[in-house]
Assembly symmetry: C2
């Protein structure tokens, strides 16, 4: 195992607060921020568009980042596409897939809005949507997905880990079911990439998406899209850097990944992301997973032991714990945690309203963990929530 | 006027090279990079999604940046949308506009690919495209646009300044012609925002786009989109942060700008952009324009006096000078400038193949200027190009 106190030195903001909002965004280590500084102060230029020394150095660093990220998740470099966020990644698939009227898509009720709305919008094109219900802990039964498949089903879109429940879906089984039925599958790894050991070639989804700024510890403004067969997806954006020939009548697109990266990319962000992923790899994602899940398990257990606290999600969970204090609004609980102990948690619908509705509540308080959180922070959280319960008991 | 040597202190990379590739991207001042550092080290969190202190501080800084940028260009804050680049901005309009089969769009032959390909793709939907030719200096005659307007014309998309020629289009007149004919107009300000004094409310286009990383001096990964009537444009991306209510059957979108900013935005980038725009405003965009255009004018004149050098573009130009050395490939000229004097210029088609074809050449060498370039750098460029001409004479 790694030394958590050592790791915390790399995240200056942790000196000021107890940061338990990692499912929304993690902090970025100084090593990654320094890599961005180097870019700005030593060699900043545009990517892939010039013969001069700065443009070459920028392009080299940018493409090095692509190789680092691709190697970390075991994806082909040519199929590793940089986007601005996971939302762009999912919408690229939903808008670029060759839909026909009458096609059918399956999602689940515990998706983030970004993995629900893009599929709902396809109704305008005559694409039908089925929404599979998870159990009350947010776990989807793969057999329920299997039984939803029809002759017209083209794609299953499913989260790997729920950002509300911390539930872990059986992605291996779901991808297997998709394969058996000739259906494509998109895995939303927003809460798993960098938090759990992932081998994309082994999981073998058709599409994999994640942000750069959560488990991968990169800066906001970065996202990833893996497309197994890039030729079947039309790019959403057209512009510079993704065409090899243009007349006013026609144009010829570059192959992936350039095809999907029109315009000037977030060069500092991608370079920072590459360095952040190196940092995660150096620490070891398996150790990180163990640490985060251990903190979450303890938190869920100890919160569950408090009178007047309801905890959601399964026993076997990733680093996310949703809960409520009976008789109190989730936002009020979050506000008190912040005001009294500088504990930063999220509250509300977590961009997943149907999943929260499924719980029959008006929102939850959510504590979510990263590699740098400590047992002492959990102690403070539990103690403060306990104090809050006494306010309403 | 401002002190150029003082300004140069804010751009460390300028100590190492003669950077004349500002039409591709400018350098970012230390003040803006420091603002990004403050974000990462003091208050990083996700935007608009949490009640805790870091989320609130992040949201405040992010929205402050929106106000700064909106004030600088004189745009309504609610109509000022952050994108990842100008390419996303243009594609958002081309994909979100309520097209009908038979509609007609007018562009010019001196557009960057990002302001040409998105309109060309509309042919798939039965939208017709007319391409107006500029003169040999890259200047579009507004009357040629007027005479291309038909009953079915819905939109004119035109650059403000050509990234190849440095020519300045008569945007005021073109917008006026559009208004008279009930046609909407998109102005691509990629080469003018931050380089020339712009008052969007006074110009009054329907759409205005620009990157954050050129004249505005912000980091790469930032762009702007102004939409006069945000309600008529459907967002390209759906996801978190842009909806107020979601069931599995329907959803309700937030108003602009949130509607167009699904998912986690480039928070550090936008904060850096806000600070960069403050920097530009402090120096004064009129002084910057005067400086850049003076350098470009001198460069064009002096290059034109060299035997064996052909200079393109009009006499009255923005800070962009395209040229060729007779008998030499543009890339070779750029390579020699870099290798011998560390002069960073662009060469080739500049993501504007039809415009370059219009010149009847296979590419150009392009020197483009920013507020921090000097007469001494121009001297070195001219001397080195002169030496290069002697290689082939």
């Amino acid at each position: 195992m790694y030394d958590v106190l050592n790791v915390r030195e790399d995240f200056p903001v942790l000196k000021n607060v107890i940061y338990l909002d990692n499912a929304a965004t993690t902090q970025t280590p100084v090593q990654a921020v320094s890599a961005m500084l180097d870019y700005f102060y030593k060699y900043a230029a545009n990517h892939g568009r010039g013969a001069h020394r700065l443009a070459r150095e920028t392009t080299n660093h940018f493409e090095d980042a692509r190789e680092i990220v691709a190697a970390f998740l075991n994806m082909d470099v040519a199929k590793t596409i940089f986007t601005k966020n996971a939302t762009e990644s999912i919408n690229t698939v939903s808008r670029g897939f060759p839909w026909k009227k009458g096609d059918h898509v399956i999602v689940t009720l515990v998706e983030h809005h970004s993995n629900l709305l893009p599929w709902m919008r396809l109704k305008e094109m005559g694409v039908e949507l089925s929404v599979v219900k998870p159990d009350i802990c947010g776990v989807v039964n793969p057999e329920d997905i299997r039984s939803s498949i029809k002759d017209t089903t083209r794609l299953i879109a499913v989260n790997h880990v729920s950002n509300v429940f911390g539930s872990i879906q059986d992605i291996g089984k779901i991808v297997g079911i998709a394969r058996q039925n000739g259906v494509k599958v998109l895995v939303d790894g927003s809460q798993s990439a960098g938090n759990m050991a992932l081998d994309i070639k082994s999981i073998d989804p058709d599409f994999f998406v994640c942000p750069g700024h959560k488990g991968l510890l990169g800066p906001q403004g970065t996202g990833l899209l893996y497309i197994k067969e890039p030729d079947i997806i039309e790019p959403v954006f057209l512009g510079g850097g993704m065409v090899s020939a243009v007349t006013t009548d026609s144009f010829k697109m570059e192959p992936s990944p350039a095809k999907f990266e029109a315009g000037t990319p977030n060069i500092p962000g991608v370079i920072g992301l590459g360095r952040a992923v190196e940092y995660v790899a150096d620490i070891g994602v398996k150790s990180i997973e163990k640490h985060e899940r251990s903190l979450a398990k303890d938190t869920a257990r100890r919160l569950g032991e408090l009178d007047g606290v309801e905890v959601y999600g399964p026993k076997d969970r990733a680093g996310v714990v949703s809960f409520n204090v009976t008789g109190m609004n989730a936002h009020d609980v979050a506000m008190i945690l912040d005001q009294t102990r500088k504990i930063c948690v999220r509250s509300g619908y977590h961009c997943a309203m149907p999943g929260i509705d499924h719980l029959g509540v008006k929102g939850t308080v959510r504590a979510s963990f990263a590699l740098y959180n400590t047992e002492e922070e959990v102690d403070t959280l539990i103690r403060t929530v306990s104090d809050i319960t006494s306010l309403v008991s």
